[in-house]
């Protein structure tokens, strides 16, 4: 699926950074006019965004830079989706989904096809997620009585590491 690049290149007067830019381009969906909540995989080969599809906010996963759309078999349904976040190679896709009247944090393992579901006790509502590139930790922003608080979870007993190819265990970016 071709990516419709609006390839405008821009220089920058900054002393240490120069950059070029492009639009994330087409989604392959005729009614997808708006997209938000971008998340890049650690290696930059995957982009997750939230688009409006049939009036519902839905998660879209695209390979980069060709824009090929990859189905998320476990997460689909349960809209609205929000706050996607990806591991290094895009093996794990975490997001917030709707189940009944509950917001749930879920992680789809694209390698095994499994869906891991997070439920929160009490009145705490998940608002945003951020998955570490190696998939070994998850940061969750929670809201309770108007107060927002980020908590960190260890996922090492749940997910295999998703690290760059050739990187040895323990050889993580520091």
């Amino acid at each position: 699926m071709p990516l419709l690049l609006s390839s405008l290149v821009s220089g920058c007067d900054a002393s240490w950074v120069s950059f070029s830019r492009r639009s994330a381009g087409g989604t392959g969906l005729l009614d997808a006019g708006s997209r938000q909540d971008p998340a890049l995989s650690g290696n930059g080969q995957w982009l997750a965004t939230v688009i409006e599809r049939n009036g519902r906010l839905s998660l879209l996963l695209q390979h980069q830079p060709d824009g090929r759309v990859v189905p998320l078999r476990q997460i689909r349904g349960h809209q609205p989706h929000s706050s996607p976040t990806l591991s290094w190679n895009g093996r794990y896709v975490a997001a917030l989904v709707q189940q009944g009247n509950q917001r749930l944090a879920v992680i789809e393992d694209r390698a095994s096809g499994r869906l891991h579901r997070l439920t929160l006790p009490g009145e705490r509502i998940p608002v945003r997620l951020s998955l570490a590139p190696d998939g070994q930790r998850l940061a969750v922003e929670l809201m309770q009585e108007g107060q927002r608080r980020v908590e960190l979870l260890d996922l090492t007993n749940l997910l295999e590491p998703d690290r760059p190819a050739g990187q040895a265990v323990g050889e993580q970016g520091r």
């Binding site: 950059f19 994330a24 006019g33 439920t119 940061a139 969750v140 960190l152």
Partner: protein, 164 residues
Amino acid sequence: MRSCSALGHALTTMGAGLLLTGCLGSVPVPLNGFNQQLEQAGNSREPALSDSWLAVISGRGGREQVLLLNLARQRPVPLPNLNRPDAQPLSVAVDNAGEHLAVVRQLEGRTELVLYRRSLGTVELLPMQPPGVPRQVSLRADGRELAVQVSRNGLWQVDLIQLR
């Protein structure tokens, strides 16, 4: 799936804290020591996690700033020249090395995207072209690319920006 939900409800009722349920039966472990350190900073939101760093927007009493915490040392590191009393951060992202932070902030009536380099303490403006209002930012782990949500003509778009 119904039995998994029942298990989750039962565990939640037992007050076991934040639980991951599902058919795998595994439970993540809240990093309580780290979470307690983070709580001392006040409210926190907009988490951005790398393998070794957590960036958040935190604050008390209406004043917020970007906070970068080293996960191993469980404490924040200085971010000279990034946080300003007249700026309101909206979104933050961090690379895997904790060297680059991308921040969307409101400053002097405008919303801007800046890139911060921690080792140099420099802040560089990344203008939106075509003009637009940035909102949410994500940084690739190696710091060489970012994705930013931009409002243009009432529509949300996503720009990909290669950094060199």
